[in-house]
Symmetry: C2
Subunit: 249 residues, 2 copies
Amino acid sequence: MGTQERRERERHERRTKILDAARELFAKEGIEAVSMRRIAERIEYSPTALYLHFPDKESLFRELCRSDFAGLALHLNELAPVRDPLERIRRMGEAYVRFAVEHPNHYRFMFMTEHPDVPLDDQQQCTKGDPEKDAYAFLRASCAEAIAAGQVRDDLHDADLLAQTLWAGVHGVAALCIDRKESWIQMHDPDVLATHMTQALMRGIRREGAAAPGAADAHAGKAPPVAAAKTGGPVRKSPRSSRSPRPRP
Amino acid sequence: MGTQERRERERHERRTKILDAARELFAKEGIEAVSMRRIAERIEYSPTALYLHFPDKESLFRELCRSDFAGLALHLNELAPVRDPLERIRRMGEAYVRFAVEHPNHYRFMFMTEHPDVPLDDQQQCTKGDPEKDAYAFLRASCAEAIAAGQVRDDLHDADLLAQTLWAGVHGVAALCIDRKESWIQMHDPDVLATHMTQALMRGIRREGAAAPGAADAHAGKAPPVAAAKTGGPVRKSPRSSRSPRPRP
DNA sequence: GCATATACTTAACACTGTTCAGAAAGAGTG
DNA sequence: CACTCTTTCTGAACAGTGTTAAGTATATGC
């Protein structure tokens, strides 16, 4: 009987209707400024109706941002064809800051607010570690690749440590540019800062003697072994207990 | 007539009584979790009484954090006697992250929340730019010094650009460590990350050919020209910054 | 003694996220 | 058809928030 399926479908439509309304308000005004009542109002529901589809406000926005995480990963994956790992990483940094500045509200929610330690649900569980859907995994894989290629200084041969250092660098640029936009400290242009940050970090992590990539490098015609081809190791999903990269070689 | 002065004094005492209660709650639970009612309760006032001393909640916390800004600047100024500008900057980075991790709530309010573009009041107006009271000014001055000393690459000869790049680097470490403490990405130890970040950045900004400072440098016995000329203080004990791991020279 | 400024309180407003009891409508079953 | 059960939504309410208006003591200044 098709009724079951039709109901499922209609339910899904209602859900996305809520999410669409929320996304619009949220992206424009930020998470704090948007109340459940206003979201409900916009789609002519009562506030209570939202709670039939989402347990609370945070879950609603979490769901909303999940797609944005995927979007970020997709955005960065466009750089997968760049052959030289360090050059790829450098460009990822620039693209990352651009993404953050263009979607400040999403970025703020994704990376600038404390998230309670809620256990990953099934969907997150299987995207985690997949370089195509998990931006951090992609970065980490590229770092591992660079290390394996002997491009990185000896004291940075831990892929997680390297990835987190680089991530922190561009996150700092993004976060300061978003928060301190109208502050007593006049920040430079995000693009300029991002470029200098990534270049400085590249010089800072590169093994001495390793040649900097000339402008010659650039794109490869064909997608190479998928950006590291699992360089990051057996990246599969890990049942949450595996949250201990625990490096220290 | 002494009544005026006494009243002024008593008023000031009430003010600090409020601030003390607020500081305690705020530092423990964060700005969001603390309500005006709870602050008032703690000192056996009615909630409205707070509004006789502060126009609103944000002003209260702003006042509270002003002293912490000064504290940060003081903390960093202990490094003023370090003669070599780049080495001084590098250590400032480490000290900065340590400060952030030790006072996460204050740091979050100072540098991780959007502050409305409120015009600086008189007091802020005159601390701004003073390296002893304004940590950014101190960093910027050190950057200018390093540039003047010919230690910095030519493409980073803008003191603000350089300062903001370095700041962003350590801010990224601090912010990620504070926010992602319990996240699906297990962050490395803040100290380790801070050390690697600052070292990588130092290598990344240093003019090629300029010698890295040997461990020989370190403290100066006497106040050297710029840095300490303004420190006004002989920079005695550094009660809290003494635990500098500092591996890998 | 009296007006006044100060410090405080009670009551209330306009919000917030969230829950609970119920109503209306459709589907499945006798 | 009637009966039940599920789904979907609503209205009212709870417990909280920051903040304001109006009113009350009390000490000061004349």
